[in-house]
Amino acid sequence: MSAASPQASQPPPLRRHRDGAVFGGVCAGLGRRLGLDPIVLRVVFIAMTAAGGLGAVLYALLWAALPAEGEARAARMRVPRVPGGDSWSVAAGMGMLVLALLLLFRQWGLWVGDGLVWPVVLAAAGGGVIWRQSARAADPAPAREAAARPGGGSALGRAALGVALVVGAALLFLYFNDALRPARDVLLPAVVVLVAGTLILAPWWIRLVRGLADERAERIRSQERAELAAHLHDSVLQTLALMQRRVDDPREVAALARRQERELRAWLNGGRALGERGTLAAALELAAAEVEDDHGVAVDVVTVGDAPLSEEAEALVAAAREAMVNAAKFGDGAVSVYAGVDEHEVEVFVRDRGPGFELEAVPADRRGVRESIVGRMQRHGGTAQVHSVAGEGTEVELRMRRA
């Protein structure tokens, strides 16, 4: 294959090749597309010209039909390659070659007779097109792909072409054998009726095909809409109804609004539920969400980096959750949670703006801070520190080395 081909896996589209042109570039282009030396094709064309002039006619036709390389319409002419299938250009090239050979044979007298050969050739071509078409239809993936392409009707066009070729071959055969004359009187009216019928039905048929596509798109859209409506109904509308009933309890309303906001955000992000993700950041956010729900206080979580949820990390999250509960209970307003994860260490800060307290002043029997936070962190090889300034709030600092 030519080194100039842009993609090695794909033969260059069928064009006249100007660079390699001797005359009009037709042979060079064909050769490039078919992977043959243009010389071979040139010889064929010259032979065909010598044997009755057909070569010259074919060459002229091809010259007119093929876009020169680099022309704008070339891009449109290019037929997409279906996996496992040959493109039109190859088929056309093969057809030309077969035709040339046949004409050669005819010239040399190796010939059965016009009445048999031409119909057989036509029927073979038509049959080939139909068979390839049905083989492709049986394989649903490329068929769908073809249908999805703009101008997906080309599959139908190919089938029609195949049918036309075979029918044409049959008629030609009958004509050569003079079997058609009695039928002509019957056939002519039939053809006229057929043409008229096509003219009448074609617009309706096209509308039907378009209508089907529209209907399918509409069905998909309405399915999506139904899904969205179901979600909004289950979540947002329920929450709004609840909020209207609790309108005399601003704390409850704020908590409801926040929970709904959280759920909606998670849904919009298309993410899985926090609990399913199994990372430290997700577990922290889940814990924060629970504390928000239980205590009606906003808990803002900011995480930098993330880590898988090991046993130590779970202990860290549990300690952080306890700190959030304390902050929500004794603090004033929103709770800030920050988690930073790097390769060596995880650090979590839980901060509130409450009145603050002194750890030493907390009675020994209060499990909260001493046991659930400090003790838990120490058991898992971490540290916990409580920084509290009277009047400025409390910050719990949790640190744990990463294994």
Binding site: N269, D300, V304, G305, Y338, G340, R351
Partner: protein, 215 residues
Amino acid sequence: MTSSVVIVDDHQLFRAGVRAELDGLVEVLGDAATVEDAVRCIVELAPDVVLLDVQMPGGGGVQVIRDVAKARPAQRFLALSVSDAAEDVIAIIRAGARGYVTKTISGPELADAVRRVADGDAVFSPRLAGFVLDAFAGAGQPIPSAVDAELDQLTAREREVLQHIARGYLYKEIGARLHISAKTVEAHVSAVLRKLQLSNRHELSRWAVERRLVD
């Protein structure tokens, strides 16, 4: 002297709410609901600060910043949005906004943020600070031979300041904790903003998009 603002948001209810909340704290010169209206309004009224919604039909806040920049390149913007997706936040900051706050912010806090942006400072919400730390994390070594390698990394001090913002501390509290003045804290944040806007580290944009995929 009170700062003047123009509010740009496609939700009428929200514009009215912000107007009411800022009443008496900040002078609201006008508001706009579409990108075209906003550009016309801002160029005409020349406010100190534009409160800018990120997500609007017709290109959103980023488009407003781009279009206004042709007539008023020094116009200051404060992004105000319900979205806390990294790609939205990073995009509007990279487009030129000097700060980012969420719509749940209280009236006085918002007025304070407007004043700071009007003074040429940067306003980072805890979440934005977290995003920036995340985006600049893993930068590791600066890219060798890069002329502006310092743009691609945060200094230790800047990290410290950002981390405190992410932990919910105010500038003056951060200053007190780090034994520096609030002005110095602001200088650090402004430096981070500059890096965020000017760094052409390709990871930065990619990071914002990828974060959404991971989320």
